[in-house]
């Protein structure tokens, strides 16, 4: 496979045809980090000693593993045991009270929240990391990066666009000689937040051309090869000529995959990278756990297939000690100066400062059993 070609300059591959009106939206900055950040981060590292358990998303696991390892290095008294059992299983564990916090690629829905035991009180959900989804492909003999849009992707992944030289694809890629081989769509066999983000984009950007909904599991057509985990899909793409699949960006970057430039809402074809995913997220900072989609945002440099992973905890903690440990670890993990500094090296994208601030506001509402605030400066 050809290396990703991720020189910072190649963020914006090509603007769309002249017919598209240049986006006038000025990219709002991700906001500024609150002034007291350093004081909180320093206090976070003085969490009471002991150990806490958490479970959930596999997408966030490499980041959490690194962040918690670093945390324990700085505060050797506190150990965080995180199990990557999958987002759904993490939520189930959380509902049953067997973990101190959970992580999920999709926040708990109202039906999930309805399953919380009576008297457990409100649930706080905060974004913990930002990530993108690449469309990685294996096209022998094609050296130029291909361009795709949502409608074409919908056709490919529903099995209606069958060959690489089909008219809808060649129309987007003038001057690229595409082979007549059949397209092999590669998808996730297991329930996956990556699938959710990808289908969220298709539903949002392809409109009625995408008929299979937005979900962590999709009824794929029979032409699709389904493999478990990001690593499985990635291996399958590598060993299958003429295949294309959606792979978490962190994974695709680390393995130097070739991925497509995707048409965004402003009509520009954008290559995924930390900067373009961040540009997309910056367009919509007011995310909440019930309104969290950030796919297909405006802005010429926005890479449109992106999403957050979420940490989930009880607003009223059952134990003051465990509660203090949980809020401090999560505050440290979701802020620059703390865990977010580990993100870039692993291919994740740092949370916009505005969201880091709202995370702190949310964590400040978390209390112990007698109502005392647990997060301190």
């Amino acid at each position: 496979m050809v290396a990703g070609g991720l020189a910072g300059a190649a963020l914006l591959l090509a603007a769309c045809s002249s017919s598209s009106t240049p986006a006038t939206t000025t990219v709002p900055p991700g906001g500024k980090l609150s002034g007291a950040n350093a004081a909180y981060i320093a206090a976070d590292l003085k969490a009471p000693s002991g150990s806490i358990t958490a479970a959930g998303s596999t997408f966030v696991q490499p980041f959490f593993t690194k962040a918690f390892y670093t945390y324990t290095g700085l505060n050797s008294g506190l150990q965080v045991n995180y199990s990557g059992v999958g987002s759904g299983a993490g939520i189930t564990d959380f509902e049953q009270g067997s973990v101190d916090f959970a992580a999920s690629d999709v926040p708990m829905s109202s039906s999930d929240l309805a399953k919380m035991p009576a008297g457990s009180g409100p649930v706080v959900q905060i974004p913990d990391i930002l990530g993108g989804v690449s469309l990685s492909y294996n096209l022998p003999g094609v050296t130029k990066r291909i361009k795709l849009d949502a409608t074409v992707l919908a056709g490919i992944f529903q099995g209606t666009i069958k060959t690489w030289n089909a008219a809808p694809i060649t129309a987007l890629n003038p001057g690229v000689s595409l082979p007549s081989n059949a397209i092999v769509p590669e998808v996730r066999a297991d329930s996956s937040g990556t699938t959710y983000i990808f289908t969220d984009y298709l539903a949002s950007a392809a409109g009625s051309a995408w008929t299979r909904g937005t979900s962590k599991t999709i009824a794929w057509p029979s032409v699709a090869i389904q493999t478990p985990k990001n690593s499985g899909v990635a291996s399958s793409i590598q060993s299958t000529p003429y295949s294309i699949g959606y792979v978490e960006l962190a994974y695709a970057l680390q393995n130097h995959f070739t991925f497509a430039a995707i048409k965004n809402a402003a009509g520009a074809y954008v290559v995924p990278s930390a900067a373009t995913v961040e540009a997309d997220a910056d367009q919509r900072l007011a995310v909440t756990s019930s309104d969290f989609s950030i796919v297909n945002q405006p802005g010429l440099t926005s890479y449109p297939i992106a999403g957050y992973s979420w940490a989930i905890l009880l607003q009223k903690q059952k134990s003051a000690t465990t509660g203090a440990q949980v809020v401090k670890v999560l505050d440290w993990t979701t802020h620059t100066g703390g865990g977010q500094d580990q993100a870039a090296g692993l291919g994740y994208v740092v949370l916009p400062p505005g969201l880091q601030n709202s995370n702190r506001t949310a964590l400040l509402t978390v209390t112990g059993p007698s109502g005392q605030t647990l997060l301190t400066k």
């Binding site: 759904g88 299983a89 297991d190 599991t217 009824a219 794929w220 029979s222 090869i225 493999t227």
Partner: protein, 322 residues
């Protein structure tokens, strides 16, 4: 049991055990009961977990064709067929090749080569299944796509079993990976039972003028038949229940495969792929899938026993006639 004060000549008389007979028997009964209790516990908990699926969906869902949890459809037929197909491919390859290897290791290969070769085979049994799966996906799949599948399509295309594109991953590759995985079990156990066929019988047959091939076919293999059946049953069980390796190489397509080259899924791969995030009826249906898998395993086992018993009788009859 060790004898304490009474020296006993080996092979003669009753061994007086230091442990009273009653205690000895009691201990064995307890151990067996524990084992049976574990099996019953396991079975009952699977049935309990699967019950909601049966009470909401009845029984027909097991043989329905569509698996789509989003729309409340939990048909298991594609997975049942996928399980049977991949296991059949594995065992059709493993029986002759495994038995042949075991025979070679027990009776044909020069003595000094037997230990290293046997160790090699047993080493294969210790390879984690995910490694077999990754090897299949990364190394074998491209070979299947470029060479094996086109070749089979060209010589066996008339059967209709090899229609469609050469994807590499699919039923055939999963069956072959399972074959590689069960081969050590098949070889190691078969070899162990083949070497204990009494030498007198072998020598007797040779003295009667039987060729080496005739000795192997008429004396050694029949003598070890029960053990070979055991090897076959264990290997089949492993093939039926293998999860991770199959999930990596079968393509996990929840449709009935119309070609051996097409992607499919097995009961075990269905469970491993969906268990992590399944809740409610879907989770219950996955336990139902585990129950179906168990029933298939028990049936295959019973069928093999019946077959051997009937060939035993046929064998005895032919001996009597002769």
């Amino acid at each position: 049991m060790t004898t304490v004060d009474t020296p006993v000549e080996p092979g003669r008389g009753r061994v007086r055990s230091a442990m009273p007979n009653g205690l000895y028997r009691g201990l064995l009964v307890a151990v067996t009961a524990l084992f049976v209790a574990l099996v019953v516990w396991y079975l009952v908990s699977i049935i309990v977990q699967a019950r909601p699926a049966f009470s909401t969906l009845g029984f027909s869902w097991i043989f329905a064709k569509v698996w789509n949890p989003e729309h409340g459809k939990f048909g298991l037929l594609p997975f049942i067929l996928g399980t049977l197909e991949t296991t059949a491919i594995a065992m059709v390859l493993a029986l002759p090749i495994g038995l042949g290897t075991a025979l070679a290791l027990s009776h044909l290969v020069p003595h000094r080569l037997r230990p290293p070769l046997s160790t090699t085979v047993e080493l294969l049994a210790a390879v984690p299944s995910v490694v077999y799966g990754l090897w299949g996906l990364i190394v074998l799949a491209p070979v299947f796509r470029s060479t094996v599948e086109p070749f089979l399509s060209s010589i066996l295309g008339w059967t209709g079993l090899f229609n469609g594109p050469n994807d590499g991953v699919g039923v055939l590759l999963a069956g072959v990976i399972l074959f590689v995985m069960v081969l050590p079990t098949m070889v190691a156990i078969s070899r162990d039972v083949l070497v204990v066929v009494p030498n007198e019988q072998v020598e007797g047959a040779t003295a009667l003028g039987a060729t080496r091939w005739q000795v192997l076919r008429k004396v050694v293999v029949p003598g070890a038949r029960t053990g070979i059946l055991g090897a076959f049953t264990l290997a089949t069980g492993r093939a039926l229940g293998e999860t991770v390796a199959v999930a990596l190489v079968i393509g996990n397509s929840p449709f009935i495969a119309h070609s051996l080259k097409a992607p499919a899924a097995t009961l075990a791969s269905l469970i491993v792929n969906n268990f992590g995030e399944a809740t409610g009826t879907e989770l219950s249906a996955l336990f139902g899938a585990a129950l179906v898998l168990l029933v298939i395993g028990v049936s295959v086992n019973a069928l093999a026993r019946v077959l051997v018993r009937s060939t035993d009788r046929a064998g005895a009859a032919s001996v009597a006639v002769a």
